[in-house]
């Protein structure tokens, strides 16, 4: 671990000024978000910004009473969990093959999977829009699920593969001589052993799915398929203009569970974010 001893030539004052300064830069806007979420609408856009607003639960009431927030939430949760599930079902066998078998074209396939991550959503947006339109899936959470799964599949595969590479080969050899088939080894030995990696991959996929905007914008055009992020974008409330306090409050409410989950997997985060290139 980090040594506490002061290193010669390194000024502790400078260190804490820099780290503390950045911490303020991170947190002050967050407090500002919160203050917007908890103020009345009349104090949002004013000739002079109001720094000490009156406390109000206007936004809270509006979210739950004027908007079908539960439906948006349900759509988000279903689309995101469904997409993560699709990813795991597809990625785990693929990662296993890429991590453990020797076969022609293996490295090319691994790289192809990685390279889909580099594709800008805008490039494929038009064909995918038409594809879903032709399939009659526009404006459904099924379409969102499929798109989120596609966006995250490369990430998830690479993360899981990296964790699988760390498992000693001996373990599989032992299971094989003990009489287990390949798929049973995967299911009973490998998956339990890399559970932290799988969870990390799932959490990161979940965050990216929550963040996804462009496809959601194109696919979800009515509240039937609105997710939280779309609902935000549509808190423009017609003649009322953008309803910022509701946006801020929803953002905050969505942030809390994500924050807790991420803190729980903190140790694995750096490895997950680099698709396994860094071992945290």
């Amino acid at each position: 671990m980090a040594s506490v001893r002061r290193k010669k030539g390194e000024n502790l004052l400078v260190r804490y000024l820099i780290l503390g300064g950045w911490a303020l830069f991170c947190l002050v806007p967050v407090l500002w978000f919160l203050s917007i979420g908890l103020r009345p609408r009349t104090e949002i856009i004013t000739p002079q910004p109001i720094y000490w607003p009156t406390f109000s639960l206007d936004a809270w009431h509006m979210i739950w009473e004027d908007w079908p927030m539960w439906q948006y939430l349900r759509n988000s949760v279903l689309a995101i969990l469904g997409s993560v599930l699709i990813d795991l079902v597809l990625a785990i066998p693929a990662a296993y093959a890429l991590a453990r078998y020797e076969f022609r074209g293996r490295d090319d396939i691994a790289f192809y999977i990685l390279s889909t991550r580099m594709m800008a959503p805008a490039i494929v947006a038009i064909p995918i829009f038409f594809l879903f339109r032709n399939l009659g899936l526009l404006d459904t959470i099924w379409a969102l699920m499929l798109v989120y799964a596609a966006i995250n599949l490369s990430f998830v595969t690479w993360i899981i593969r990296s964790y699988m590479l760390d498992i000693p080969k001996e373990l599989e050899d032992a299971a094989r001589t003990d009489g287990a088939s390949d798929l049973r080894i995967l299911w009973e030995i490998i998956i339990p052993a890399i559970l932290p990696g799988i969870i990390t991959a799932a959490v990161i996929a979940m965050i990216f799915a929550i963040n996804e905007f462009l496809f959601t914008l194109l696919i979800a055009s009515t509240p039937d398929a609105y997710t939280m992020s779309m609902a935000l974008a549509n808190f423009t409330g017609g003649s009322d203009g953008v309803i910022y306090n509701a946006i801020a409050l929803v953002a905050f409410l969505a942030f809390l569970p994500v924050f807790l989950v991420v803190v729980a997997i903190q140790k694995h985060l750096s490895r997950g974010l680099t698709m396994g290139a860094v071992k945290g």
Partner: protein, 349 residues
């Protein structure tokens, strides 16, 4: 419970040859040790017997049945690994149960078999623990229990003791041999440690560079090494090997002169003599040099003499002492000299 035959077995990875032309017959209930330095092909040969590698050439048979195409999981072999390979997410009990579950042993029998196996390796009190909560020796025993629980036809052990400290290793060696005799299961044991090989084996297979150098009982291997490799690999410290020539019945090398030889007249040879067959000489000697090192161990004294640029190991009496760099003579036990051909290293005498 099974006889294992290897016939012309070869393993190649592209142009790299891992194992070449191995012919071997392992009798039922026999304990055979594959001995050799790392990279000699011993582990690969064992893995081919296990079915974890496919031979590129040749046949592997168990009880006469060709095994090449049979999956590892169907060969009814149990393997113990260097790193133990215990399943980290399962308790010791579940670890031992795993092979039984995979083979659809009736639930009713499972518990009894597990407890029997655990008792054999004195692990009854640790069944609820996860592998991470056990010491190295306990993990080793758990791995053994997992191997013996289903009474396989063949045991394969891949350097099972090399992660243990010296004391524990000796105790485990005894236990493994005892278990093997008790269960009467054909066993192949891979090691690079010649002491393990000598103490455990019914027969030793010495391997180097992918091929078998010699097959024999420990006594045969020790007394009649087939070539310089086997001679130099077995024994601790290993046999002294001195390159020189035989002229007029006398072997000579710098600082060394051994008369009275009736073999290999006029040829370049390697003379071999074990440290225990070398004796400290007062007067005339086969070898004269200087004391290079002296290591008393209590029960004996290892003496290293430098003759020419050659270092000769001598097992001397425990009371022997000498100062460094003083002149020292050594005589060889003439009945126990070995001669190897200079070029090929094959044994002449």
């Amino acid at each position: 419970m099974a006889r294992i035959e290897l016939q012309n077995v070869e393993k190649r990875w592209g142009a790299v040859v891992g194992v070449r032309d191995v012919d071997l017959d392992i009798a039922d209930e026999e304990l055979v040790v594959f001995l050799g330095p790392s990279g000699c092909g011993k582990t690969t040969t064992m893995r081919m017997i296990a079915g974890l590698e496919d031979p590129s050439e040749g046949e592997i048979r168990m009880d006469g049945e060709v095994m090449n195409e049979v999956d590892a999981r169907d060969r009814d072999v149990a393997m113990v690994f260097q790193g133990y390979a215990l399943y980290p997410n399962m308790t010791i009990y579940e670890n031992i149960r795993f092979p039984l579950r995979m083979r659809d042993v009736p639930k009713a029998d499972q518990d009894r078999l597990i407890r029997e196996a655990a008792a054999m390796v004195e692990l009854e009190d640790y069944l609820d623990r996860k592998p991470g909560a056990l010491s190295g020796g306990q993990r080793q025993r758990a791995a053994l229990a997992r191997a013996i629980v289903r009474k396989p036809q063949v045991f394969l052990m891949d350097e099972p003791l090399s992660n243990l400290d010296a004391k524990l290793r000796q105790a485990m060696r005894v236990q493994i041999k005892h278990l093997q005799r008790q269960l009467r299961i054909t066993t192949v044991y891979v090691t690079h440690d010649q002491i393990e090989a000598m103490t455990l084996a019914d027969r030793i297979v010495v391997m180097a560079g992918g091929s078998i150098q010699q097959i024999g009982t420990p006594d045969q291997i020790y007394r009649d090494p087939a070539n310089t490799f086997v001679a130099g690999f077995i024994g601790s410290p290993p046999m002294n090997l001195i390159e020189g020539r035989v002229e007029g019945g006398t072997f000579s090398a710098p600082g060394i002169s051994v008369p009275g030889l009736s073999h290999a007249e006029g040829r370049a040879v390697t003379l071999g003599v074990r440290p225990e067959d070398c004796h400290v000489a007062e007067g005339a000697a086969h070898l004269t040099g200087h004391v290079y090192g002296i290591e008393p161990t209590g029960d004996m004294t290892y003496l290293t003499v430098k003759a020419g640029d050659k270092l000769i190991e001598v097992k001397a009496d425990r009371d022997f002492r000498a100062d460094l760099d003083t002149p020292q003579g050594v005589t060889f036990d003439m009945d126990r000299l070995y001669l190897f051909a200079g070029e090929s290293g094959e044994r002449i005498r």
